[in-house]
């Protein structure tokens, strides 16, 4: 049984997840799902950070992922608050109908 996996497999998985995130960002029509696609992209990038940290034995790569997680948590809190405000103002979450800055 093979015990060593090339680092590039992890990176290719990360690239695939990132691409799926971009596709979701483009094709989904619900604001919440679009936001979830952004989280998917952040996760994909985190995976490549951890892979490179492992590759070059750098602790800082993992700490960067930790920072990304903290920023993602802050971003999710503010983003979801904005989604709630939008839903209050327009009673819809369809991105096709949320195309104006003012009511």
């Amino acid at each position: 049984m093979m015990n060593a996996i090339p680092s590039s497999w992890y990176l290719i998985l990360s690239a695939l997840l990132f691409t799926l995130g971009v596709v979701g960002f483009l094709i989904k029509r619900s604001l919440i799902t679009v936001f979830m696609s952004i989280e998917l992209m952040l996760n994909a990038v985190n995976l490549s950070f951890v892979t490179f940290a492992h590759e070059w034995h750098q602790v800082k790569g993992q700490i960067f992922v930790f920072f990304v997680m903290m920023v993602a948590a802050a971003e999710a809190a503010v983003g979801l608050a904005i989604i709630i405000a939008i839903f209050r103002a327009r009673a819809t979450l369809n991105v096709d109908q949320i195309d104006l800055m003012k009511l």
Binding site: A4, L16, L20, I27, M36, A81, I82
Partner: protein
């Protein structure tokens, strides 16, 4: 063992991500995203990042996704409406996505011979090692993120208030 674990959880990741795109109800998409994030935690463990695996479960699969499901339920979001979609986004977007994937894969395949391999027996990055760097070299960025999170809390409360934005 390593290969089997990698293949299983990579498959879970991709299946969850594809399911996120295919589902029409946001709550189903949120649950698929939890599957993706939990499988990524296992992949972090395989890469020897034990602290990040725990943080991934607690912060992402726990806190952030609870926030998402909470908002989906609070707003009582229904099934995604089938609209014409923005045709421009699809017409320009899909070629762009293919180009992005192509560029990343080309770079990776060229760099592949310089990259090493991942073994399960590789050294695990301990939390002690991680925190030593975090609290010495990177103390200032760490403290700044606490300010960022404080501002985010204030912003979220201000935005989500009944008369938010006014």
């Amino acid at each position: 063992m390593h290969l089997v674990l990698f293949l299983i959880f990579a498959a879970f990741c991709l299946a969850g991500a594809i399911n996120l795109l295919l589902q029409t109800h946001p709550i189903n998409s949120a649950l698929s995203l939890i599957v993706v994030m939990s499988s990524l935690a296992v992949l972090y463990l395989l890469l020897g990042a034990e602290f990040l695996a725990a943080a991934q479960i607690i912060v992402y699969a726990g806190a952030i996704m609870v926030l998402f499901t909470f908002v989906v339920m609070l707003l009582n979001v229904g099934v995604e409406e089938k609209t014409h979609g923005s045709k421009v986004a699809k017409a320009v977007g899909f070629p762009a996505v293919v180009v992005i994937l192509g560029v990343i894969s080309t770079v990776l395949l060229q760099a592949e011979k310089h990259l090493g391999v991942v073994n399960l027996s590789d050294k695990i990055t301990t939390t002690q090692e991680l925190s030593r760097t975090l609290f010495t070299d990177l103390l200032l960025p760490f403290e700044l993120t606490s300010v960022l999170i404080l501002i985010a809390i204030l912003g979220a409360v201000a935005l989500a208030r009944k008369d938010g934005g006014q």
